[in-house]
Symmetry: C2
Subunit: 221 residues, 2 copies
DNA sequence: TACTTATTGTGAAATATTTCACAGCGTTAC
DNA sequence: GTAACGCTGTGAAATATTTCACAATAAGTA
């Protein structure tokens, strides 16, 4: 029993992307695909696709490439929890509501089973079919529902306390939308999704793109 | 004149993080900081911080480390547009509104100067102080306002057309929230911010964390 | 002044990631 | 049947990123 050959974060990110692309393909009726085709869709190289897929334990055929359906299955066995996974959300502001509607619609692997907000006016409501609890019930509800993963969409000032409480309640994975870095104990994985930092990155590379494309046109003469 | 020594995406991402952390520090009255302290906040290594800062062209003092204020200035000269930059938003659904409120409040470098939505019921409104136009006015408004960067928060099915139209209108940087990969011409930088893929990644590593921490406790005996 | 200490900036080593390149193998064509 | 083709899986090379390690340096101390 040695299932994990240590898959890097980058590889996991690409595997998730491959699965999404394959899903689109499958719904278009596509039955099989070659590494170079998948690479073109994912904007990578064929060698990288094959290398990534080595981690999945699914082998394609030299003649027909990969079966779209089987590969999705293999990716899902690796990436997904056996059962559909319940997720908690803390913070039912603008962003929190957007997240609830985002994950409510789609037939997603993930269902937001509990939301928490400090505003007493929101407690007791059901937003997009998800019940909203007060923050005092965090540990109890997470325990009862068997939730292991949480999203944090609270104001920056409350993020540290929120994350701490989630860790105490037994959460092992956190997706943090608040623009602050917070400490988590060993054994908890946290990822930051900071929209304004993403925007900064885009603006920076947009500028350098602009410069180089000007240079290109100059050179093209 | 040779301003760009080619800074990797990873480095830019960390520089943006450093700037945020330094901003917090400055507001707490901190005047100077050492590389290992900044590294602790950013959860990196001191050597990495120093290596990253080499790209910025600001030098610290061996005795006092880096001046928080000056370093923020140097980072901003590198990362920011000279003027406050206008951004466009396409798609004023749940997520779009969350983005508008997110970027409206804070005294951000970026201001969302124009939003677009196909729903005639939304056109003409001002959401969080941002005017909403119909999609037919995309090129005109972007041109008039001098906008170079856009955020896309439309349904998956409309993303390809939206991105195409933005590129035609002269946008050079796109932050795409729609869960589809789209083609952009040379000279346009696009970044994908796909929440459900982020959540998948978190859930995956949460599981492996759980496993290794179990192993740890077993080993700790 | 001279000595000690803690830090920076950076060449060089170590590590991580990506790409190359080719053996091996189904499939197809003749 | 067998030759030719185009693909996969993967060792090895190339490249990118991170860390190490140390000379250079400014401040504090006596």
């Amino acid at each position: 029993m040695f299932s994990l050959p240590v898959i890097s974060e980058k590889t996991v990110a690409r595997l998730a992307l491959y699965r999404r692309l394959l899903g689109d393909l499958l719904s278009q009726g596509r039955r099989s695909i070659y590494s170079h085709e998948l690479a073109a869709l994912a904007k990578g190289s064929a060698a990288q696709v094959r290398r990534d897929l080595m981690a999945v334990g699914y082998e394609g055929s030299p003649a027909r490439g990969y079966s779209v359906e089987d590969l999705i299955g293999a990716l899902s066995r690796l990436l997904d929890h056996p059962a559909t996974q319940k997720v908690a959300l803390v913070g039912v502001g603008n962003l929190g509501r957007a997240l609830l509607s985002y994950f409510a619609g789609r037939g997603s692997q993930y269902s937001v089973a509990a939301a928490f907000d400090a505003d007493p006016g929101k407690v007791g409501l059901a937003v997009n079919g998800c019940p909203v609890y007060g923050p005092d019930r965090l540990a109890e509800v997470i325990e009862r529902e068997g939730i292991e993963v949480a999203m944090v969409a609270v104001p920056a000032g409350e993020a540290a306390r929120t994350v701490h409480d989630l860790c105490t309640a037994g959460i092992t994975g956190i997706l943090n939308f608040a623009p602050v870095r917070v400490w988590v104990p060993e054994g908890v994985y946290i990822e930051y999704l900071d929209m304004s930092m993403s925007l900064e990155r885009v603006a920076f590379f947009a500028r350098s793109k602009r410069r180089t494309s000007q240079q290109d046109s100059a050179l093209a003469k």
